[in-house]
């Protein structure tokens, strides 16, 4: 297992390194000079040169790359001129907001997919419902869904808050520990804030979850169907184990394996934030920030964001690979075990 894990970690590091190189090159190949944006169109050549020197842009490309990487590792992620704030503090508030929403959406998508996939095995009626619901999910534009949900649950039924970000205006954010309002308010015992944060999470998370849910439930359902045809399921039933227990004990874990990779991709995608959902719900996440900095050629924000996303993506995949090994002995024990 240790050998399996170190191998996976090493290959993850290589992937992140590759992403950093791409992020670095792309931001320099894009047309338009960030320096001109900072100093303005009327600034003198000397001013331009000074700023260029200050940003280290007069150095050779390898040196610039080294600066970028070493600064990133040290935690010095540069200063965003378009926002007027250090990138690190900018992302420190924005990233957790997107992460919290993404995690919540993933829980909805994944949990919902598991429950409905199992239920769809029980009756043809549920199966038909799940199938059409999933089709709907694959074809519904997320911003439209967001508006519908807002009209129904917020405006008409007054069950959930409207598009006002992570908390109601009169609620103070909890002291920052993880940046997740739910966890922070729970840890500090502010249950009123916790409930408020949860209320604000539900609609955007549902919106974000719908498409990935549809994808996962179809995948899981078909995998589960395949597994129920496996002889070992009949064997387990011939031992006197009830049908539902056989599905939980043997069906789900085996159906889960091929779904795991897809789930990881879905999860990583959700974590990177969604421009549309964040815009509709006024969610202060990275999605909006990225669009804004791209428009402003704020390459410092962009290259940090790309690298961070790569790290999140790779970490999630790494966890999945390790989970795979933990669940499936054939992978874990692929080498070095006597027959």
């Amino acid at each position: 297992m240790i050998r399996f894990a170190t191998g996976k970690i090493a290959s993850s590091l290589v992937t992140v390194l590759g992403a950093s190189i791409i992020a670095f090159i792309v931001m320099r190949v894009l047309p338009g000079s960030p320096v001109r944006l900072i100093v303005g169109a009327l600034a003198s050549q000397a001013e331009v040169n000074n700023t260029q020197r200050a940003l280290g842009l007069d150095q050779s490309v390898p040196v610039q790359y080294w600066d970028y990487i070493s600064n990133f590792v040290r935690g010095d992620w540069g200063f965003s001129y378009s926002v007027g704030e250090p990138v690190r503090s900018l992302l420190a508030t924005r990233f957790p907001a997107s992460l919290e929403l993404g995690c919540c959406a993933f829980l909805f998508a994944f949990g919902g997919a598991i429950v409905l996939a199992i239920l769809s095995l029980t009756s043809a009626w549920v199966e038909r419902f799940v199938r059409s619901f999933a089709f709907l999910g694959l074809g519904t534009p997320v911003f439209w869904l967001a508006l519908i949900l807002l009209v129904v649950f917020s405006q008409s039924l007054h069950l959930l808050p409207g598009p006002e970000g992570r908390l109601s205006l009169n609620v103070q954010p909890p002291p920052k520990i993880t940046g997740f309002y739910t966890i922070d308010s729970l840890v500090t015992g502010r249950f009123g804030t916790l409930w408020n944060a949860i209320e604000h999470l539900i609609l955007p998370a549902l919106c974000l979850a719908f498409a990935p849910f549809s994808f996962l439930v179809r995948l899981l359902r078909s995998n589960l169907l395949d597994v129920t045809r496996e002889p070992f399921m009949a064997v387990a039933r011939s031992k006197g184990v009830s049908r539902s227990l056989v599905i939980l004990r043997h069906g789900l874990p085996n159906a889960f394996l091929p779904t795991l990779t897809a789930s990881a991709l879905v999860f990583a995608e959700l974590l990177a934030g969604s421009v549309l959902v964040e815009t509709v719900f006024d969610w202060p996440g990275v999605g909006a920030l990225v669009v804004q900095s791209l428009e402003n050629k704020d390459y410092v924000v962009m290259q940090t964001f790309i690298l961070l996303s790569a790290i999140v993506y790779v970490t999630v995949n790494l966890i999945v690979d390790l989970l795979y090994g933990a669940i499936d002995p054939r992978i874990r024990l692929a080498r070095g075990t006597p027959p």
């Binding site: 002889p231 070992f232 011939s238 006197g240 184990v241 002995p329 054939r330 075990t337």
Partner: protein, 348 residues
Amino acid sequence: MSHLVSNSESPLLQVRSLKTEFSTPSGTVHAVRGVDLDVRGGERVGIVGESGSGKTALALSILGLIDPPGRVVSGSICLKGRELWPFDERRLNEVRGKEIALVFQDPMTALDPIQTIGRQIGEALRSHSSMSRRKARQSAIGLMQEVGISSAARRVDNYPHQYSGGMRQRVMIAVALANQPDLIIADEPTTALDVTSQAQILDLLTQICRDRGTAIVLITHNLGIVAGFCDYVFVMYAGRIVEHSPVRELFAHPVHPYTEALLRSVPRSVAEGESLYSIPGSPPDLARLGRGCPFAPRCDRGRNEPRCANEDPATFEAMSTYGPVMAECNFAEERFALVAQQGPGHPS
């Protein structure tokens, strides 16, 4: 009606007129078409037939393991005097593994690939008693030793992919033995194995039957295995039992032309240039069976007989030297009489 009529002992398992159907897009497949089957305690019974004759469907039907689109339509399944059909899942879960255990055909796919061997044997134990996981693991080791898995204490925590086919089938037998059932139904337990493993598994089953008094129903298409293993044989064709008789009688004097043809098609040494016998034609489509004997189109005797083609064959019952015989064939009486003239033990 059964070979038990003459025997006062009531059978362990008594199946009557069992019918199992599968609804498919191309029509209803009548996989089991009114089967009678008797198994006494400690008896070794063989069910022989070609692929697709309904042997596996019969085995699964007895345990209520036929899943939709298939279902047991009618009949009676009586286990130790208690009726199982119409099925009650709760009652079936008590029977499965505890009173009747199944050994499946392909040991490569019969084990959950992501659970240890010990847990899967333990599962059989734990589903019929409130045994702790630890205790179940210990019992699993004992069972593994009993079925001849060496260094069981070490191998109990292995996964199926670390076992060979023969070893996996031993595991399956350990699973079947876990709750000391009265009956083990082994569905082609050796088909997926090499010849050496086949012999070992059959020896193991023989030993279990002898030492524990467990009745065994061996489903196979291999007549060699039947000859060496069974006391009594049921021959299945197109979803029906077409002949049943004691094993020695069956091999010496097959009454049904299908049984005779099966025996003739067992490969044996032939002279150079002589070809091996095979039954002409192929088994009927179980979705489009009409009236008449299903074997008639392939039968040397009945091919041109109008009554074979148009009427259900007559049931013939008689007492032979070794025990009662039944055959569903219009010529059975005539053929049996011929045999009686030749005297016992004379090959037909």
